[in-house]
């Protein structure tokens, strides 16, 4: 490969691949934009050109093996699909089940935009289900963002408080705790809600206490060591919001500790955004707690979502050929979006347009 060929090949790769290639080779490569990154990589490749090229080819090979190659950045002339040849992202278009329907228009994509008429609040079936299941045991809720997890938390807390039980609600961030403190104070009344931080305790005797998960973990450790601090004996419900944080590299362990040491008489309610394996979480909790843990999950969004593409020149088009999101078909791109994006890549990457 000549240096120029190598440069071209690099320019054809997505930036993520270049970063992967740069790992361990180039310091602070994440700070560099694509053009700069290619420059630095080329300079570096001089040290061990064969090793560099072989790594590059391996990464490209891997990329092909990925289920959905991205639209190959190509000059239009070279864009002829060859379905029989092995799919190589740099030279061929990915095979895609051909749609017989024509791609939708922008106006049909925008259709239906607007404000819904106001309706009386009727809880969703999954919300009722979650609250009901909490009577029988712990509950993990995994639903898309914006579905209405707060309603479940509020209703569950209301019931526990009515039974003279203390409720602890935790969030991963102090900022979110503050927001919830304001929100819950409005719903339950200011005397019913307290907040605990490392150095401050506002209304610490209230039946509904808000804190970060770290603070709760510390309370549980103190209780384990014999120093009862908050009234853990009357604790009836622990709500862990944003519990997908259990997978946070630095802080995830705190969620595990909290769940392991949560007093057995208290029910646990875990609220989480959509994750791939919520049943694992439920099964795990069932295996370590006295009551079974139920999973309440739904994956469809309450407000449907559409995806679009906005070109830097201000032109808007649908991103996919369908009005909604074509689940399971990542390369079902709208022809116009595809065309514009290829044009974008061609124009922003000088080394490619030189050909």
């Amino acid at each position: 490969m000549t240096t120029q060929e190598l440069e071209q090949l690099l320019a054809q790769q997505p930036i993520a691949l270049l970063h992967r290639l740069a790992r361990g080779r180039v310091q602070r490569h994440f700070r560099a934009g694509k053009r700069r990154l290619i420059e630095v990589l080329l300079r570096h490749s001089a040290e061990n050109r064969p090793g560099f090229e072989s790594d590059l080819m391996t990464l490209i090979g891997e990329q092909q093996a990925r289920p959905s190659p991205p639209p190959p950045p190509q000059t239009p002339a070279a864009r002829k699909p060859k379905p029989s040849a092995p799919q190589r992202r740099t030279t061929h278009r990915p095979v895609e089940p051909e749609s017989h329907e024509p791609a939708i228009t922008l106006s049909s994509w925008l259709e239906g935009l607007g404000v819904p008429p106001t309706k009386a609040f009727i809880p969703d079936a999954w919300q009722e289900d979650a609250i009901e299941k909490l009577r029988k045991g712990d509950v993990v809720v995994s639903v898309p963002t914006g579905s209405g997890k707060t309603y479940v938390a509020v209703e569950a807390a209301r019931r526990a408080i009515a039974e003279n039980r203390t409720v602890i609600y935790t969030s991963p961030l102090k900022a979110l705790s503050n927001t919830k403190y304001t929100e819950f104070s409005k719903i339950f009344g200011p005397d019913q809600v307290g907040i605990l931080t490392g150095d401050r305790r506002d209304n610490g005797q209230a039946p509904l206490l808000i804190m970060t998960t770290e603070i709760l973990r510390n309370l549980l450790y103190d209780a384990g060591g014999g120093e009862i601090d908050v009234r853990l004996d009357t604790l009836g419900l622990v709500i862990l919001d944003e519990s997908q944080y259990i997978a946070d590299p630095e802080r995830g362990v705190v969620w595990e500790e909290t769940i392991i040491f949560c007093p057995s008489q208290a029910r646990m309610l875990l609220l989480s955004a959509s994750i791939g394996n919520p049943h694992d979480i439920a099964e795990w909790i069932t295996s370590i707690r006295p009551t079974p843990c139920h999973l309440v999950r739904h994956t469809t969004r309450t407000v449907p979502l559409r995806a679009g593409y906005l070109h830097p020149n201000g032109k808007l088009t649908p991103l996919f050929r369908t009005v909604g999101i074509p689940h399971g078909h990542p390369s079902y791109l709208h022809t116009e979006a595809k065309r514009l994006f290829i044009q974008y890549e061609d124009e922003t990457l000088p080394s490619r347009s030189r050909r």
Binding site: F30, D55, P70, P116, A247, V303, G328, P330
Partner: protein, 619 residues
């Protein structure tokens, strides 16, 4: 064509299509700030009633949080109806922006993706400009779950019939990551269980040593390790079935028997032995350079992904994942140390020879390993000489040549021995999966015993009793500082300053106030101690410039927030976060009032000084 759409064009396009309000996720704070500046002289004004609505909401928030009354963004927010919301801002400012969004007053908010989880407000439209995100100093592609969390902010229940997630390209974008994110299923999440010193102390405070293993077994980490072990156990069952035809023959352990016989036979044969030009220690080591083995190459450490022999020379080679993420092909002779540690890794048939998850995990474990690891004792045979005569069995000692099952053994040996090796490997992996947490716990116990926080029977010592109350990062450094009485005589400002240099983990450079000479020499002492603890705990950055900011704020109660902000180039939000974290650290010191009354008192005076102005606004 510009590399990305101009903010004014963006807002005009959104307004034109009735796609407001929108959250515009940008790559950096700087990008957000620049987007706001673009509106400075813009005339795309809101109609007066909407401007008034914004002013009304802002007035209410300002009444509660006076710190934002003079916020420089307010004019633009009011005139144009756009705002920025990122970690460089004060929490009170972010509350104001959120409140404006909740009231539907704004057309757009420019935010950073880093805080997608912290952006607790929805909009009709979300604009996505990037496909990767900075995570612990490296840019990583967004996961499907992350793309959906970001896109999920679009479409407010009760306010929108549909939501829109719109991609607009920037030079960083990989469209494939996003389309996959929109259309895919979120990834499974994995446990990130880390065993820390305070965890060990607190568990041993409440439970005797023999109850610890069952407690660790309750973790999600162990749950997932068990899942992996079960997969291997199923494979093992499979292997057992496959081994069926290779059960006992004339001799019970015919596989070993045949192996030895075959070996001796080859030694005896007159053909020149396959000579490889490799020193005996390399040859001896090569057996141990199996996937997962932690090794050192001079000063850098790595983990073996596979071993092979080079094509032409047949010299022993390994592929290794090095600390920092590089994957290299090196001659086995470049390995300078073979540790006794083997990390779990799930093999794969192609580069990088294990699953991508394994790479991540291995890297993670590599980083976590202590500075010094025990070396594997490897017996190095002297030169290439054959096994000494005394031990060598002559061919006559084997029954094989005349054995009735000789031909069967000869035929089956390659398959059977491979299956058996695989069995052994799985058995070992399963054992590792079942016991790894406990081993990690024991390692921490060893260190705590060595430092005198635990007795030889793993009970808390007097020091352990108070040390367990320090439940923050760098706890070992902090408790060792207390034992060294490093803070005796330190005033509140100095104590707080040191705590903030321990708490602060960002290496973003900037201009800062000068440190006092007292603080500088105390920090020197802290640095020395931190370096000496580095085999057991990663040292914090301990930036003197950062400490100086805290020192000024606590040391001079007359200093205003504006005054403090002017003394450094650090963003307001960063200063706030620094002081808030310092507060957290100080309040942990405050819990030591029974054993360290003087220190607890200094800490509480520092807290009182720290909590003023902006830092008093929120709990």
């Amino acid at each position: 064509m510009p590399p990305s759409i101009h903010p004014i064009d963006l807002i005009l396009a959104l307004r034109d299509k009735h796609l407001t309000p929108a959250i515009v996720f940008l790559t950096s704070r700087r990008a957000c700030d620049e987007a706001m500046q673009a509106f400075d002289h813009s005339q795309i004004l809101l109609p007066p009633p909407r401007q008034r609505a914004i002013a009304d909401v802002l007035d209410k928030v300002i009444a509660q949080y006076p710190s934002i009354a003079e916020h420089p963004l307010i004019p633009t927010v009011q005139r144009i109806g756009v705002a920025a919301h990122h970690a460089g801002h004060l929490p009170s400012w972010k509350i104001a922006v959120e409140e404006l969004m909740r009231h539907g007053c704004l057309d757009a908010v420019f935010a950073t993706t880093t805080l997608a989880a912290g952006v607790d407000f929805p909009a009709r439209t979300v604009i996505i400009t990037q496909s990767s995100i900075r995570k612990s100093r490296d840019f990583m592609d967004l996961t499907i779950g992350e793309v959906q969390q970001i896109a999920g902010r679009a479409g407010r229940r009760g306010k929108d019939l549909v939501g829109f997630a719109i991609v607009t390209p920037s030079p960083y974008i990989d469209l494939n990551v996003l389309t996959k994110g929109f259309t895919g299923h979120p990834e499974a999440i994995n446990s990130q269980f880390v065993i820390s010193y305070p965890m060990v102390l607190n568990l041993l405070k409440a439970h005797p040593l023999d109850q610890i293993q069952p407690i660790l077994a309750k973790s999600f980490a162990q749950f997932q390790l068990n899942q992996r072990a079960e997969v291997l156990e199923r494979k093992l069952d499979d292997l057992r079935d496959q081994m069926e035809p290779y059960g006992p023959r004339v001799c019970t352990d015919w596989i070993t028997e045949w192996q030895t016989f075959d070996h001796v036979r080859r030694q005896k044969s007159h053909r020149a032995p396959v000579r490889r030009h490799e020193p005996p220690e390399v040859a001896a080591r090569f057996h141990f350079l199996t996937p997962g083995r932690v090794v050192a190459f001079g000063r850098t450490r790595g983990v073996v992904l596979r071993q092979y022999r080079s094509k032409g020379q047949k010299s022993p080679m390994i592929t290794a994942l090095r600390l920092g993420g590089g994957i290299t092909e090196s001659p086995a002779s470049t390995v300078t140390e073979v540790s006794d540690r083997v990390l779990d890794c799930v093999d794969a048939p192609v580069y990088p020879w294990c699953t991508p998850e394994s790479v991540e995990e291995l890297l993670h474990h590599l980083e976590e390993l202590p500075g010094r690891l025990p070396e594997l004792p490897i017996l190095i045979p002297k030169d290439d000489e054959p096994i000494p005569d005394a031990i060598v069995q002559t061919l006559g000692d084997f029954a094989c040549p005349t054995c009735p099952s000789r031909s069967a053994c000869q035929r089956d040996y390659p398959v059977a021995s491979k299956l058996r090796q695989e069995q052994h490997r799985h058995v070992k992996s399963i054992q590792a999966l079942r016991t790894s947490l406990w081993h990690r716990f024991q390692e921490k116990i060893d260190v705590l015993q060595q430092f005198g926080y635990l007795t030889p029977t793993a009970h808390l010592t007097e020091d352990g009793e108070w040390a367990r109350l320090i439940r923050i990062d760098h706890s070992l450094l902090i408790t060792e500082l207390l034992r060294a009485e490093a803070f005796n005589g330190a005033d509140p400002a100095m104590l707080a300053a040191v705590m903030s240099s321990i708490a602060h983990d960002d290496d973003r450079p900037g201009a800062f106030p000068r440190v006092s000479s007292g603080l500088a020499s105390l920090l020197g002492q802290v640095r020395k101690l931190a370096a000496s603890l580095s085999p057991h705990e990663d040292p914090p950055l301990l930036r003197a410039d950062i400490a100086a900011v805290t020192e000024r704020w606590i040391g001079d109660p007359g200093l205003t927030w504006i005054g403090l902000c002017k003394s450094t180039t650090m963003a307001e939000g960063d200063i706030y976060r620094l002081l808030a974290r310092t507060l957290e650290f100080l309040s942990q010191l405050h819990t030591l009032k029974a054993t360290h009354p003087g220190l607890a008192d200094t800490a509480s005076r520092a807290i009182a000084n720290l909590r003023r102005g902006v830092l008093e606004e929120l709990p």
